[in-house]
């Protein structure tokens, strides 16, 4: 037979064990609280990270695209939706001359196909290494050499084969590097220099695929999809936009700050919703716990009074009730954060797709910090909610409580 000392913790454990339904109910409430706290904070942080990543990746102040293709461009940036649209390359030189423009660089978009000829249907973004100021600084974080002809850089969500190559239009391309996750459409895109783009187009034509590059004839050398603009210091986006529009017709202009602001606005609404739900759930859980602990302590009046009658001080009674609440909180808090982790981490891609917003899970250090804070809040919730009951239970007149229990 067991002969371990009957410590406060052991007395609490025995009491929790002897009331499995009551204990399970309390654990479940803390579980919900921890789930809401960790899940909510993780979701919230992921959205903030996504927004930060989007801001970092937009790079250019303006993107000039063919008329009425603003939404298509935003689709490429935000969700990686494959699109293709072209205008004459000479527009790049015209924009460069506009007052307030500091730098320009063009990009060429083509889409690969969901067919046997291609490993994956993706957006391929061709850029000019000599003028590019958007993609190369980002690529430089993972690949320090110049991207050669026939080489490609893959976004983080592109699934590579074992040989580190991708097949497009029956030709194989070596993947020089894979980028870090950004939570934007760029994760589903592939990057290459213009010579590689020409090889891709030639391959497509040989394979008899229609790439729709016929807007300005069939010469890929004369077509671009977008011209990215860096504004000169002292000018603002609106002024430069007006300047470009005055000189060039048949174009649309996407302001990066508008893409960012619109996404940020959508995100603000969602963040407010997540934060409100988390707070309401937290307050409700604390309230429910307080009521349950109060009812529980009330129901145990005689038991606590008996302990008093055999020599338990008020502090000991408080300690027993608070230890029980802490044990419940530790169990519920741990289960809640595990449950949140099991849902948030494996389903992050699905969540990102459903949200339609930049969504980037935090790194390990931030995740651990959020986990620590959530656990701390959950662990504190029980004792916090039980404090009033514990003090009340310890102050009850033992003699009266024993008689009331009869």
């Amino acid at each position: 037979m067991e002969s371990k000392p009957l410590t406060t913790r052991r007395l609490s454990v025995y009491n929790l064990r002897s009331n499995p339904f009551r204990t399970a109910s309390l654990v479940f409430v803390v579980l919900l609280l921890a789930f809401a706290t960790f899940g909510g904070s993780l979701l919230s942080q992921s959205l903030k990270n996504g927004l930060g990543s989007l801001k970092e990746r937009l790079g250019a102040d303006l993107a000039v695209v063919p008329l009425d293709h603003e939404a298509d461009y935003e689709g490429i940036i935000l969700s990686g939706q494959p699109e293709k649209f072209y205008f004459d390359q000479s527009i790049e030189q015209q924009i460069e001359q506009v007052e307030g423009v500091s730098k320009v660089s063009s990009q060429f978009f083509i889409s690969t196909l969901a067919a046997a000829c291609c490993s994956v249907p993706v957006q391929v973004i061709g850029f000019d290494p000599d003028t590019d100021f958007v993609i190369q600084p980002w690529i430089a974080k993972v690949y320090h050499e110049e991207i050669g002809d026939g080489q490609i850089i893959a976004g983080s969500d592109i699934v590579l084969n074992d040989t580190g190559t991708l097949k497009f239009f029956d030709d194989t391309y070596k993947v020089a590097a894979q980028l870090e996750r950004t939570s934007t459409g760029m994760d589903y895109s592939v990057y290459a220099n213009m010579n590689t783009i020409k090889m891709l187009v030639a391959g497509a034509r040989e394979a008899g695929m229609n790439l729709s590059v016929d807007v300005y004839g069939t010469d890929v050398d004369r077509s671009v999809s977008t011209v990215l603009v860096k504004i000169e210091k002292g000018y603002d986006a609106d002024t430069v936009t007006t300047n470009i529009r005055r000189q060039i017709s048949g174009i649309s202009i996407v302001k990066s700050q508008n893409v960012f602001a619109s996404t940020a606005n959508n995100m603000d609404v969602l963040l407010a919703f997540i934060n409100t739900i988390t707070l309401v759930l937290w307050l409700l859980a604390i309230l429910v716990l307080a009521v349950m602990f109060s009812a529980m302590t009330n129901g145990r009046k005689k038991e606590l009074a008996l302990l008093r009658s055999v020599g338990a001080a008020r502090g000991k009674i408080c300690g027993i009730v608070l230890t029980e609440s802490l044990l419940i909180s530790i169990l519920g808090g741990t289960l809640g954060t595990v449950a949140a982790s099991l849902i948030i981490f494996p389903f992050s891609t699905y969540t990102r797709e459903k949200l339609g917003l930049p969504y980037l899970l935090p790194n390990v250090a931030v995740t651990l910090r959020l986990l620590g804070m959530s656990l701390l809040l959950s662990f504190a919730s029980g004792p916090f909610a039980a404090t009033y009951s514990a003090v009340k239970g310890s102050k009850a007149e033992a003699y009266i409580s024993i008689r009331e229990g009869e």
């Binding site: 009957l6 007395l11 302990l307 055999v310 020599g311 007149e397």
Partner: protein, 233 residues
């Protein structure tokens, strides 16, 4: 070690009127005394013994053990006093449902810092009270008499100087009452003073002194046997 109660009073406010549940009570209990306290319901008997057990604070008066007035003790000291000096057997069922019989008996031992273990002592007390075979059982499976034996064993675990028993035989049959009273008498014979509240006239015969409580006033009967004869008469 004598226990001296002097001018002990407990006043309550009922409605807006003050009344004295215990009124200026004084008496002395010597080691080995077996004191019966009888009286009508509401006469103040339980209030008196609960003040002695430091579970109630008197309005005035003193309770002294070896010159120490326990009335002035703070909660922590009072609890330690109750834990080490008093064995308390409360009315009715007084076990902890979440603990088995052996652990119920061990509880008081672990409420203060003590050397050694409690298992052997607790088991020995269960043997003395005749329920060692129930050591692993839980209270819900025990009869009223068995539960009372658990309470008695628990009251003795810390070798108290005083055992306070509040109606220990109130819900027991005649045979079990006799067995419980024998146990309490044996305790008194070892030098531990026993103070027992009872309404059971059969139980009075086991005591060495009898007090009558009436409207908060305590009076000792001149002779225990005289009182019993008078009541029976």
């Amino acid at each position: 070690m004598a226990l001296e109660v002097r001018s002990l009073t407990k006043e309550y406010i009922r409605g807006r009127v003050a009344f004295q549940a215990v009124n200026n009570v004084s008496f002395v209990v010597q080691p080995g005394d077996f004191v019966n306290i009888i009286g009508r319901s509401g006469s103040g008997k339980s209030t008196l013994v609960n003040m002695i057990a430091c579970l109630l604070t008197p309005t005035k008066g003193s309770i002294e053990i070896d010159g120490l007035n326990i009335v002035s003790l703070k909660d922590k000291e009072a609890s330690a006093y109750r834990n080490s000096k008093i064995g308390y057997i409360s009315q009715g069922q007084s076990t902890l449902a979440s603990l088995n019989v052996l652990d119920n008996v061990r509880v008081p031992f672990h409420l203060s810092k003590r050397e050694g273990t409690s298992k052997e002592a607790a088991f020995s007390l269960l043997e003395q009270t005749g329920i060692s075979h129930l050591a692993a059982a839980f209270p819900k499976h025990l009869s009223g008499g068995e539960l009372k034996r658990v309470a008695i064993a628990r009251a003795l675990i810390n070798h108290p100087d005083y055992v306070i028993a509040d109606e220990p035989t109130s819900d027991l049959d005649v045979q079990t009452t006799a067995e419980i009273m024998e146990l309490l008498k044996n305790i008194a014979e070892t030098g531990t003073a026993v103070m027992m509240i009872t309404h059971d006239m059969e139980a009075l015969g086991y005591g060495s002194r009898t007090f009558v409580m009436d409207a908060g006033i305590l009076t000792e009967c001149a002779g225990n046997r005289v009182y019993i004869s008078h009541k029976r008469g």
